[in-house]
């Protein structure tokens, strides 16, 4: 850290006495949460008793309002709205002291913090917490699935575990993990001192644990948890126990968090690039987050709508999706997938960006076909909006619609193929350093090609029909979202670990983690293709005895896969304090985040950097990506020096 940055930084003075309870923080949370929460419930009771409805305290409306009012109380207590409330009410806002910035103790990670690097860590650690929780859920139901018949869980509990595992992995792990990594590196990569809207950034993080807790609270709701699968199809969902209200509402919190972060990324990337950083000089991760954020902003409102309509059907007796009331059941699926297919690219494009960074740096070569790589991201973005109904080939929608949906779906294989071929061409003739991040990136290509090819199959109507809703789909989605997304998240975590902590992770444990995951992953999920084509449907606690052997094998493999996560966690925690101290640029990368100290100074750059070239000019004599002020670390020398 530079001394200049230190001068800006004043740790907030801890308030004492009763002031503790009025200043933003957890003491204030203690009373604002029950207060605002109960006010919400009280309003429900008042309206119902005024209208003469019986019973006055009805669980459905109470859960609907409570899942808004209690979290709002929490956010008010934490101080999420202080600035805007002061501003809107004409009160004098606190002068910007930057006291919301940076972290000097662990407590700084548990408050509204406006520093993008702190928020990035908050995001990443939260997602890893939920990764472990929903991974353990998977291990629980894999235990049930090791044998046919009912062993440990009744069908209700089994369905709850499956539903929670999927929705948490998607909304609380993969999507926000990229928001976390992006938060840490995007402002650094473009030479900005922070995100465009730091207060919004802090708020969008805090919506995330709220979403996670609401999803999990639903498991314990009276009557039973969300058990209609993560797709929560109407009309089943509206007729399931009350836990599904928590599900519908938690999606709103997670979705709002996603939209706010994406908006922040968009404005940051468009307006805050350092001088000289044209769009064609942006690192590919920045391109990827730009495309992803466009997808999030445009698509996420659709899943919010689908969940609200479903909730209204249940609580207000509207008939959006109730056939008996004139509703259109398939309408739910159309709206749901209009988000949830683009969501697949929301979960993949940032990973593509990470892989591009790592492969170029570790192969010591410029990325092959940079412009086509950037354009292919935009192609996926545009095509991604025209393919949603390929999830509905057997759903009973208009038959003709399947053909155009198939054509656009299969066309997405073209830009995706371009990316894979370009990564391979980047590695070709390189000087490849096979450290942990590169190992993960290579493993990603191997597994993602399998997921991509089975995706082409599923895009073709006549191949999809026999295998849809079977274990083939379970295999495919895990090859794409685990072998794809999660592998890229691990790639990113290992790659930027020395930047965030200033220390190197343990290389041996990193490689062990990779190999255990790679083997465990393939052993768990590859046999599921076969189970699917042979006739095992998904989302069943019980199955035909002839599928026993492969299921038992997959269950054992899944425990091996689960064990690899323990090694990862140990490595991360141990290395944070005990790892080898490394300089600012252990990978000899050219992008800007590696040109500042590790961990980076509190306001990132002492002077605004000047961008003078592309981000991956390895091997080009004398080439530089950026020129920084003298106090900063020297840019890495390239080829031949």
């Amino acid at each position: 850290m530079t001394s200049v940055a230190h001068d800006h930084h004043h740790a907030p003075a801890s308030p004492s006495g009763l002031r503790k309870f009025t200043a933003p923080g957890w003491y204030r949370v203690l009373w604002t949460t029950p207060l605002v929460g109960l006010i919400g419930l009280g309003i429900v009771g008042l309206i119902r008793s005024a209208a003469g409805w019986d019973p006055v305290w009805k669980s459905g409306p109470l859960a609907t309002v409570g899942t808004v009012s209690f979290p709002m109380g929490l956010l008010i207590g934490l101080g999420g709205f202080d600035f805007w409330t002061y501003y809107a009410s004409g009160k004098k806002t606190r002068p910007e002291s930057h006291d919301g910035h940076g972290a000097t103790s662990w407590k700084d990670y548990f408050r509204i913090n406006t520093d993008h690097k702190v928020i990035g860590i908050q995001y990443t650690v939260t997602t890893m917490f939920f990764f472990v929780v929903s991974g353990l859920m998977a291990l629980l139901f894999r235990a049930e699935l090791a044998k046919p018949g009912d062993q440990y869980f009744n069908p209700q509990t089994f369905n709850i575990l499956v539903t929670e595992h999927a929705i948490l992995m998607i909304l609380l792990v993969i999507i926000p993990a990229f928001a976390g990594l992006g938060n840490i590196v995007i402002p650094l990569m473009i030479g900005a001192s922070d995100m465009a809207f730091p207060k919004l950034n802090a708020l969008s993080y805090w919506l995330l644990p709220i979403a996670g807790i609401t999803f999990m609270a639903g498991m314990f709701a009276p009557g039973g948890g969300p058990s209609a699968g993560w797709t929560c199809y109407a009309p089943l969902c509206a007729h399931q126990p009350m836990g599904n209200i928590f599900f519908n509402m938690a999606v709103q919190w997670g979705g709002a968090s996603s939209i706010m972060t994406a908006l922040n990324f968009l404005v940051t990337i468009i307006t805050m690039r350092a001088p000289g950083m044209t769009f064609w000089r942006m690192p590919l991760l920045v391109w990827a987050n730009f495309s992803t954020s466009l997808l999030v902003v445009l698509a996420t409102p659709f899943i919010a709508g689908s969940q609200f309509f479903e909730l209204f059907d249940r609580v207000m007796h509207t008939n959006f999706f109730e056939a008996s009331g004139g509703g259109y059941v398939l309408g739910y699926q159309h709206i749901f997938w209009f988000y949830s297919h683009p969501a697949v690219y929301i979960m993949l494009l940032p990973g593509f960006g990470i892989i591009s960074e790592v492969i170029a740096v570790m192969s010591r070569k410029p990325i092959f076909g940079y412009r086509l790589m950037a354009l292919s991201l935009l192609a996926i973005l545009v095509l991604g909006f025209s393919v949603w109904a390929h999830h509905m080939y057997v759903a009973g929608m208009a038959g003709w619609l399947r053909v155009p949906m198939m054509a656009s779906t299969l066309l997405i294989a073209v830009p995706t193929g371009i990316k894979i071929f370009s990564w391979l061409a980047t590695m070709w003739n390189g000087k490849i350093n096979f450290n942990t991040p590169m190992l993960w990136a290579t493993g990603f290509i191997a597994t993602f090609v399998i997921g991509g090819l089975s995706g082409v199959w599923l895009g073709a109507v006549s191949i999809d029909i026999p295998v849809s809703s079977t274990y083939f789909i379970v295999a495919h989605i895990h090859y794409v979202l685990f072998g794809g997304s999660v592998f890229t998240i691990f790639t990113g975590i290992y790659y930027w670990y020395p930047k965030v902590t200033g220390r190197m992770y343990n290389e041996k444990l990193g490689k062990l983690h990779f190999w255990m995951t790679f083997i465990g992953f393939n052993a768990t999920f590859f046999p599921m293709h076969y189970l699917g084509t042979q006739g095992m449907p998904r989302r069943v606690a019980d199955y035909a005895p002839r599928f026993h052997d492969l299921n038992a094998f997959a269950s054992i493999a899944s425990y091996f896969l689960g064990a690899s996560t323990a090694i990862f966690l140990f490595n991360m925690i141990w290395s944070w304090t005990k790892g080898e101290v490394v300089g600012s640029n252990p990978w000899r990368a050219m992008t800007l985040e590696w040109q500042v100290s590790s961990p980076p100074p509190i306001f990132n750059f002492e002077e605004v950097p000047q961008i003078v070239g592309g981000p991956y000019e390895f091997g080009v004599p004398g080439a530089r990506h950026a020129i920084l002020g003298s106090a900063q670390a020297e840019p890495v020398a390239t080829g031949g020096h």
Binding site: Q156, P235, L236, H239, Q240, P241, S324, G327, Y328, V329, S363, R364, K365, P366, F368, G369, Y370, L372, A395, G396, G399, V403, A407, L410, A413, V414, G417, I418, L424, A425, M427, W428, N429, G430, K431, T442, I445, A446, V449, I450, L453, V456, W457, A460, V461, S462, I463, I465, P466, S468, S469, H529, Y530, G535, V540, A541, D542, E617, F618, G619
Partner: protein, 335 residues
């Protein structure tokens, strides 16, 4: 590239292709097709399979080649050659995949077009689904809980649902469709092999989803005709089937409940063998208890069973006289 490296790369590709082909061919991935539609679908799968094997072999070969050949030696801090791209190469790997996916699209489109044709005189069977049973209604108005089909005749299955989304799938038939409340969906199949096949619901439809199964039996046309016209086929409930046991079977009670008298052993709901004590516990007469438990299932729950599991649709889907005879049947045969 030297001649040696090209040879090596080719060798990797051949090995990767051979291994993938072996996995594809030696493992019996697909059930033996039992309909003409499945034959066409399996053809499209193999068409895409060959393309997938070639693509996978190329990618795997290049990847393995890079991993083996382009490793930096320890301590080597130099950079690779500054290649920024190659326009021709990029055009090629944009164009070839485009051609391949267009080919797959065309093949798949032709297959589903052909599979959608029901021909001039199909046998139309209504598949009526509800939690967690299938009923198959034939043109003669009779309803069965097992699907019997003649070999080599086009069959059109019209799917409907009384409650939530279900689906109809026989793996060896290839075709599959959801049964959606409020709309009608259909599939066409032409069975080509006699035998017994499982009917599977693939759409999560509630707690009994894993047990929502039936059976399809494909018979020779003559055998089918004999069965179809025989007198001992079970009468449909709509056609005056007010006998309690028939209603118990056709309304699907047995899918979830154990009831010794009817020979059902469902495990989703409570057993119906000891209703008297349950009625006493609820403080109702046996008849009232059974009747209200059918029409308003949540009014009195057996210990350990959750609300909202049993469909609440029976109060409308069973007529008053049918309800009476069902109650009578249950009351007479329970303890």
């Amino acid at each position: 590239m030297t001649r040696g490296s090209i040879f090596k790369l080719l060798a990797y590709a051949v090995v990767a292709g051979a291994v993938t082909t072996a996995v594809a061919v030696l493992i019996p991935w697909l059930p033996t097709a039992a309909t003409r539609q499945a034959d066409r679908m399996w053809f499209s799968i193999w068409f895409a399979e060959i393309i997938a094997i070639v693509v996978f072999a190329v990618v795997a070969a290049v990847l393995v080649y890079c991993v083996v050949e382009f490793r930096a030696k320890p301590g080597d801090l130099s950079d690779g050659p500054p290649t920024h791209g190659h326009t021709m190469l990029e055009i090629i790997w944009t164009a070839i995949p485009t051609v391949l996916v267009v080919a797959i699209t065309i093949v798949a489109a032709i297959v589903i077009h052909d599979n959608g044709k029901a021909g001039a005189n199909p046998l139309v069977v209504k598949v009526i689904t509800q939690q967690f049973t299938y009923q198959f209604e034939y043109p003669n108005g009779k309803t069965y809980d097992i699907l019997r089909l003649p070999k080599d005749r086009n069959v059109k299955l019209d799917l409907s649902s009384k409650d939530v989304i279900h689906s109809f799938w026989v793996p060896a038939f290839g075709e599959k469709s959801d049964a959606v409340p409020g709309i009608s969906t259909s599939i066409v199949i032409t069975p080509t092999r006699t035998g017994y096949y499982p009917v599977i619901c693939t759409q999560l439809c509630g707690l009994g989803h894993a047990l929502m199964r039936s059976e399809a039996i494909v018979l020779e046309q003559a055998a089918f005709d004999t069965w179809y016209t025989s007198a001992d086929a079970a009468p449909a409930p709509a056609a005056g089937g007010d006998d309690g046991k028939t209603i118990y079977t056709t309304a699907g009670c047995g899918a979830c409940h154990t009831f010794t008298a009817a020979g059902s052993a469902g495990k989703i709901g409570p057993s119906l063998d000891n209703l008297s004590s349950a009625a006493a516990k609820a403080g109702q007469s046996l008849d009232d208890f059974i009747s209200s438990s059918i029409t308003d299932p949540d009014s009195s729950l057996a210990a350990g069973y959750a609300k909202g599991v049993m469909p609440s649709t029976y109060k409308t889907s069973i007529s008053g006289t049918q309800l009476d005879s069902l109650v009578k049947y249950l009351a007479e045969n329970t303890k």
